[in-house]
Point group: C2
Chain length 107, copies 2
């Protein structure tokens, strides 16, 4: 399928593959945590989304990204992407557990 | 802003924050690698996108996700999200360096 790949490119791709494996495992662990958060929120009838928490997460990750040389705009988009999935999970957990969650909706 | 947060929730959030910091740094390093890939591709007039490479990355990350207990569909979406950004970068590098890249377009 792929034509010859220059050695330098193949080498960089090996690093990228290692990094991706690390990120996948980090994401798996992150969802294990947010799964617990979801159960906790459903049990205590807390809203799946938490705008104040999200705001502070965004600010923190943008600052971390800036320090690490990553585009803060991308870091924010990334967090939004992950949080959208988390809220999805929380809604599923909430609807499977108890009554509909209190507080502001997710929109 | 946020009302009282249960201790258990605050504890989980500390883990999530640590994981996010790790992911941000992994992403920063990943983009350092893909930046080099972009320069290499522009220099050698290779296409920014590489469908065969992407296909094998997707298959690999889906398998890793499955093993790690992460939704493979989400893993694939995540990779697509990151690759879209990378191709963006490569196009910028290519247009800033030499003639337009050869091979199939990015679409």
């Amino acid at each position: 399928m792929s034509t010859e790949v220059p050695a330098e490119l193949a080498d960089l791709r090996r690093s990228i593959d290692n990094i991706d494996a690390a990120i996948i495992h980090m994401l798996a662990e992150r969802f294990r945590c947010t799964q617990q958060v979801g159960v906790l929120k459903a049990r205590q009838n807390l809203a799946p989304a938490d705008p104040a928490r999200e705001e502070s997460q965004i600010a923190r990750l943008r600052a971390l990204a800036h320090e690490a040389g990553l585009d803060p705009v991308f870091a924010e988009k990334f967090l939004g992407f992950v949080i959208a999935e988390v809220i999805h999970h929380h809604e599923r957990i909430a609807s499977a557990t108890t009554s509909p969650p209190a507080g502001p909706g997710v929109g």
